[in-house]
Symmetry: C2
Subunit: 379 residues, 2 copies
């Protein structure tokens, strides 16, 4: 807008840098080391406290992860989870505990007004998750599950292409694979093979990502039916080490996934639409930290005589300054700041996506438990 006044406008004060979100890390699981680094890298976040079952463990974790050297104050070290939750300097907790402990500690955190960044799988079942989400809603705190790849700029770029009808058309088939080859130590001792800790096993761990990828690809439209693949592999305690499923939508879309602790590291998401095909083979953890590739074929035809393709698929490489887990922490912190500092409401998108993932996982588990019969997905 132009102005006829000749006097310069009053200089606006520089926008105040929002106060960082003060994270408490609740539990010193291996994955928490990655998140501690992310909180050091992410603008708008600081690690204010670490809570473990002993103060010595908390100190060891803080030393190992460089938290004692972070700019500003060193984190407070708590010898119990309760003490961390009682720490008034903590705005938000990151909770990487075994899944069986999620309901107890996530609801406790919310009840004390802490925002909740929760490791996946969010819960053992949708009913458990609902208890967590209800506690967060009642307390007015932000909930997000720690599915890091959602926050990579590659994911936004892929969304742009998948959502574009000219490029991809209607999505019809989604394939996802996620496996890694667990070693003997893992297969005997990791929490993810223990029925009392992470009873969902490979389904809860690697399968979570496959289900999320599939839901992401269809913009979170729930499937109508889930049918588990036969021949799931269980350990002696009955925990799933490998399994898969097919998902069906009312309009004919189909998705297939397979997840395993028993095969080579593989992270595929393939989306086939009427007009285009997207391939990504490192969707959960990009091959390299600073950039992430995918390929997109659109309106692919055969060359004359079918001796080649025309056009060839396009290769995309999406750079990122921050690793995806730091971008996740940054996004979560923004949402917390909006609530804490600006009277905003929690963003409902994140708990909604978590719940849909959990609901599909429930259906998958029910299908396995019922001889691979079709299971209706109810929201």
């Amino acid at each position: 807008m132009s102005s006829s006044s000749s006097s310069p406008p009053a200089a606006a004060p520089p926008p105040e840098e929002p106060r960082p979100v003060r994270f408490g890390i609740l539990g010193c699981a291996s994955i928490a080391r990655k998140l501690a680094r992310a909180m050091l890298l992410a603008p708008g976040a600081v690690v204010a406290a670490v809570g473990s079952r002993s103060e010595g463990k908390a100190r060891g974790f803080a030393e190992e992860t460089g938290l004692l050297r972070q700019g500003g104050a060193a984190p407070r070290l708590h010898g119990s989870y309760e003490a961390l939750l009682d720490d008034p300097s903590v705005d938000a907790v990151y909770l990487p505990l075994p899944t069986s402990l999620h309901v107890r500690w996530a609801t406790a955190a919310a009840a004390r007004g802490k925002h909740v960044l929760l490791e996946k799988p969010a819960a053992l079942c949708a009913a458990d998750l609902d208890a967590i989400l209800a506690a967060c809603e009642a307390a007015g705190v932000q909930f997000m599950d720690a599915t890091m790849w959602m926050h990579h700029p590659r994911t936004a770029k892929m969304r742009e292409l998948v959502a574009d009808k000219a490029t991809t058309g209607d999505v019809r088939v989604i394939n996802s694979l996620f496996s890694f080859r667990a070693d003997e130590e893992f297969l005997h001792n990791d929490i993810r093979v223990k029925p009392d800790l992470d009873a969902l096993g490979a389904l809860g761990d690697v399968g979570w990502y496959c289900i999320r990828a599939i839901l992401w690809a269809v913009d979170y439209e729930l499937p109508k039916t889930v049918i588990a693949l036969r021949n799931p592999v269980r350990n002696q305690a009955g925990v799933l080490l490998a399994c898969g499923a097919t998902l069906y939508w009312a309009d004919g879309k189909i998705a297939i996934f397979n997840c395993s602790f028993l095969t080579n590291l593989t992270m595929d998401m393939t989306i086939v639409g009427t007009n285009g095909t997207l391939h990504v083979t490192d969707f959960v953890v990009p091959y390299e930290e600073k950039s992430a590739p995918f390929s997109m074929a659109s309106k692919s035809s055969f060359a004359e005589l079918h001796i080649g393709w025309d056009p060839l698929p396009s290769k995309h490489v999406v750079p990122t300054d921050l690793p995806q887990e730091a971008l996740m922490v940054q996004e979560f912190s923004r949402l917390v700041q909006n609530i804490r500092d600006a009277g905003g409401k929690p963003e409902g998108k994140w708990p909604a996506i978590t719940r849909k993932t959990q609901v599909v996982m429930d259906a998958m588990k029910t299908s396995i438990d019922n001889e691979f019969s079709p299971v209706d997905v109810s929201s």
Copy 2:
């Protein structure tokens, strides 16, 4: 071997170049144009005759494909399939007719002592195929189906890596997708959507390649059970336009495929083993004619803190002087020469692979026809 004689050894006569195999092309389908070019390119092959429903059609085909300009004699042009089969100058027929005509013309060719290179799907069912194979066996002629990618040097290179236990380990999961987006003209008029011509539709056409890829990946071990995916798409005449299946082996191996005329051109084969993962996204027709890519990840681990992969997958590019269809013609011609000129026997590997592909296709069709129930695969 050294010799004490000072006289030079008698010069051996140069090895005689074997007489080329004289092909008759039986029917002028679109795919036959690609094969005519392959026969012009392949050492050891000549097109001796073209047979169509009229001599004019045969002439038009020969003109269009450059057969009239080939070195040596122009092919004889026959106005009927019978006349081509009666042509004594024809050693072998390439048969690209609609599938419903395969039994009649492939058995007729064999009965006249012609070797048979048969387009896929080989037959509408295993019983029909058995009639063809029995005729070939009785006549002592070579049988091969025209699955071209089997003959690309990339396929041999991939076999080497998949068979290597250190690289791939035990194969556990195979995924295959093959689709192309048919236009309206195809969906209304192509033989592959006509119940009286190619009644297997997308299953017989694109699905053939998926099944072959899966069997190839497990070195042709038949699955124990096949279960079709739900929601196959059919046209008004009941012909399949899109469908899929899961395949199960007794040892827990799983394969999944999806084939369609309704989505963007996609040609995936993914093989996941205990030690390695192979990805190829143009397995049926390579993106480009002179070289073909694939990637192989082996013993992939996470980098420290799971912020990347170590090692990264290897990219392979396999060059080829001749296109895969010419290599197929060359290989078929070698087998024919061995029989015709050296008293050899037909190579049993090719009909055996064809039959396994057909048997799995039968099971898949039975599963669709029986409400997606599990179907035992009987050899």
